[in-house]
Amino acid sequence: MGILGGGKRSAPPVATTAAACSELRSAYHDCFNRWYSDKFSKGEWHKEECTAQWNNYRSCLQEHLEDKHLRKILLESQNSDASSKTD
């Protein structure tokens, strides 16, 4: 989203949320990007992949995500996402 940025002031470095999960996030994104580019967008959408990477990343977020609003979305998605347990 091209939102609200580009201000000229030089803000101090802001601690990013859940920085502890950045490696697990990269592993998930790498897997997701390959799956989307090579399979899903080309017609192979019948099998979900990257669920192991996603579960590891999500567990980490559950532990480290500080924002209450985001935690709520994360937990709600877990309840409605029971179908994606296989890799």
């Binding site: 989203m1 091209g2 939102i3 609200l4 940025g5 580009g6 201000g7 000229k8 002031r9 803000a11 101090p12 802001v14 990013t16 949320t17 859940a18 999960c21 996030r25 990269s26 998930y28 994104h29 997701f32 990007n33 989307y36 580019s37 899903f40 967008s41 080309k42 017609g43 959408w45 019948h46 099998k47 979900e48 996603w54 990343y57 977020l61 995500l65 924002d67 609003h69 985001l70 979305i73 994360l74 709600e76 998605s77 409605s80 996402d81 994606s84």
Partner: protein, 188 residues
């Protein structure tokens, strides 16, 4: 008072490549130097409907807040703004829709961006049309004069336009990278 504007752009790349690039836009290693206001991106939910070929996902995007004019800056103590982005991709229909909204500062300003990527109507196999509608609404606070609210809306709109151009440049660059990667894979 709502300020709304739309933008359209044609990518001379096929739909699958452009939407792949759109997913990578915020997570590409080179993005932080171009979109320096993006501080953090996390995926909060994902869901695949394997029967209908529909994938949806929600991501949080933390951005550096803009420098607001006095007295609004006093109302925004946080140096960051949190946004939520929900994406739906219908693979059989070759349609990607993205809605982004700010989740913090909602008492002050509400921004909504609706974007879509679809095959170009004249060259559906080669090109992709991107459309984006942005609406910016400054909340009518008693303490804020309407002229100031209008000023903030226009200021935000200008930033959005600048960042949209940068975002398009990133997607063009990732598309070229994916194109050359696909060409190399064919040669191997």
């Amino acid at each position: 008072m709502v300020l709304t504007y739309t933008q359209e752009h044609v990518y001379e790349h096929p739909w699958d490549r452009v939407t792949s690039a759109a997913w990578r836009k915020f997570t590409d290693p080179d993005t932080p130097t171009v979109l320096s206001h993006i501080l953090d991106v996390h995926t909060l939910s994902r869901h695949l409907d394997p029967v209908h070929g529909v994938f949806s996902s929600t991501r949080s995007i933390t951005v550096r807040s803009p420098s607001l004019p006095f007295p609004l800056c006093r109302l925004s103590p946080s140096p960051t703004i949190l946004c939520l982005e929900t994406s739906f991709v219908d693979a059989p229909c070759r349609s990607m829709e993205i809605v982004s909204k700010n989740a913090s500062l909602k008492g002050l300003i509400e921004v909504e961006e609706k974007s879509s990527y679809r095959p170009h109507h004249q060259r559906p196999e080669q090109w992709t049309t991107f459309r984006q509608e942005t609406s910016i609404r400054c909340k009518p606070l008693v303490s804020v004069a309407s002229a100031l609210a209008e000023h903030v809306e226009h200021m935000c709109a200008e930033r959005f336009r600048q960042n949209s151009v940068k975002g398009r440049e990133i997607i063009e660059r990732i598309c070229k990278y994916l194109e050359s990667e696909a060409a190399n894979n064919k040669l191997e």
